[in-house]
């Protein structure tokens, strides 16, 4: 999923301060799963903002709405009437959601209520970890299903640097050394030979380095 976290309330207040009628728009997919932008979070944020602005003596009307996905026009249109009666939209979607909402509603300011952090998983309750940088050319088969580009602090492709100790990355004691994990797993799988050979430099053209990416699916073009 796309993992995100809510921005600090003070930052949100500053963004929405110019408006008297605000729509807080939640997203019911990834950011709901990571407790950042689903229906519940929309309700909590709306209450917090109402209370806070009331204390400040500022009048603001806040409407709440959550759609299934902010990255799909079919769902976005369900919010069209709500958007129309407000001065601005505070989106609790990921960066893609915010931009897709903005794309569909040209005349309404769309503000980000979340910081989009990474593509990841909930490793255990309350702990989300980054697993993929979307490099566009997956080589997980080689590395036993553990991505060194995402999970090694130095994106090393040819084994651990000199800072790996007791399975821990030198950069942060709370981070596991991806290479220790890769080696352990390849040993278990009997595939350590995968990483004995030299691995050439990565072609980053398929990543964001090649510029904003597009995917054309001819079979889906109507």
């Amino acid at each position: 999923m796309i993992v995100a976290e809510q921005k600090p309330i003070d930052e949100i207040k500053k963004m929405v301060a110019p408006y008297q009628k605000l729509l807080i728009l939640g997203c019911g997919t990834c950011v709901k799963t990571c407790f950042a932008g689903g229906e519940d979070e929309v309700a909590v944020l709306a209450s917090a903002l109402r209370l806070s602005f009331k204390k400040d003596g500022k009048k603001i009307e806040i409407e709440e709405k959550t759609i299934e996905r902010q990255c799909e026009n079919e769902f976005i249109q369900e919010a069209a009437s709500c958007v129309a009666r407000n001065q601005a939209v505070l989106s609790l979607g990921c960066g893609a959601g915010v931009q897709d909402i903005a794309r569909q509603f040209a005349k309404v300011p769309v503000l980000p209520g979340l910081n989009t952090t990474f593509i990841g998983v909930q490793e255990r309750p309350g702990l989300f970890t980054e697993e993929c940088v979307g490099c566009g050319n997956c080589e997980l088969a080689l590395y036993g299903g553990i991505c060194p580009i995402t999970r090694c602090s130095k994106k090393l492709l040819n084994g651990p640097c000199g800072g790996s100790q007791n399975g821990i990355c030198e950069v942060d004691p709370s981070v596991e050394c991806a290479w220790q994990l890769i080696i352990d797993r390849l040993k278990t799988l009997g595939q350590l030979d995968n990483i004995r050979a030299y691995i050439p430099p990565k072609d980053w053209r398929s990543s964001n380095s090649g510029g904003p990416r597009k995917l054309v699916r001819e079979d889906h073009i109507i």
Partner: protein
């Protein structure tokens, strides 16, 4: 144009025990600092490593400081990390370095920027140190850049890599050494050795794989100044292993004798290293203590 090989290469090829030291460029543009450090090392060692923004702190570039050393008649080992430059910049800098008379390169990943004074910087890591080794080797042996373009003059670098026998996983350290040799390393400089037992085990395994026949290994040493330094290095410096008995030994002497004890340990280490089959030299990393190098070299009987 055929240029003569580096002194370091000649020394090693002639089977002489090589000695290298380190010169950290200044945090500023003052060339005097480089020259003062270089003076302390001139005629003392075979080559001098010039660090590349070590610990991710901005310093005079390793290329510029290396070029100053060349002007003074010293031979630099230019360190180059992949943290700050993509492949385009790396290749360009290697061509430039060669044009300035720099003949040795040490290919490194580099300390992560979060350790330095500007943790807010973006890192690069376009390629890794293994890829860098292969790149320099291809430039040298095939005369081509990474795109396959034929260079009008190929940099004939003597290529070095680092090895840390004290990092984990231990069993992979020998595989990694093999990979570095295969990628292009002519010589290896190791992390500072305090844990002799583990170092000997790493060398033994490397010997068994035939690796010590394929590469010159320069064993790293750093003289300790105090018990505090020993503990700091063990606990706070990434990839360092200072065993308890070494720390105890430093703690066991009065403060005013700590420096002498540190030197003694360093000399004992060098003496022991010279007896190990497969060790071709020592790399003395006297951090911001360049004046001690000549003393260590002399006391170890390694004068040039």
């Amino acid at each position: 144009m055929k240029t003569s090989p580096s002194n370091l290469q000649k020394t090693l090829e002639n089977g002489k025990f090589a000695v290298t030291a380190e010169c950290g460029p200044p945090r500023g543009a003052n060339v005097k600092v480089v020259r003062q450090k270089a003076e302390l090392l001139k005629g003392v060692v075979d080559a001098v490593n010039v660090t590349d923004n070590q610990t991710a702190i901005v310093r005079m570039s390793s290329i510029a400081a290396s070029a100053h050393l060349v002007q003074m008649g010293l031979e630099p080992v230019m360190q180059m990390v992949v943290r700050d430059r993509n492949r385009i910049a790396l290749q360009s800098d290697i061509l430039g370095a060669w044009s300035l008379g720099i003949k040795n390169i040490l290919c490194l990943s580099g300390d992560h920027q979060t350790f330095g004074s500007q943790p807010d910087a973006m890192n690069v890591f376009d390629i890794d140190s293994m890829n860098l080794l292969r790149m320099v080797k291809n430039m040298r042996d095939n005369g081509k850049d990474m795109s396959g373009f034929e260079l009008n003059e190929a940099p004939q670098m003597f290529i070095g890599a680092a090895a840390n026998p004290f990092a984990d996983p231990f069993e992979y350290r020998v595989i990694r050494l093999a990979k570095k040799i295969e990628a292009g390393a002519d010589f290896i400089q190791t992390q500072c050795i305090y844990n002799m037992k583990r170092f000997k085990e790493w060398i033994r395994l490397s010997r068994e794989e035939g690796l010590t026949e394929k590469v010159y290994i320069l064993a790293g040493v750093t003289p300790l100044k105090s018990a505090g330094m020993a503990k700091f290095m063990n606990n706070r410096v990434a990839g360092m292993d200072v065993p308890e008995d070494v720390i105890k030994r430093m703690e066991g002497v009065p403060k005013e004798k700590a420096v002498a004890e540190g030197l003694k340990i360093c000399l004992e280490t060098i003496a022991e290293l010279r007896e190990i089959k497969g060790i071709s030299g020592v790399h003395i990393m006297a951090i911001e203590w360049e004046e001690k190098v000549a003393e260590i070299v002399k006391a170890a009987g390694l004068q040039k």
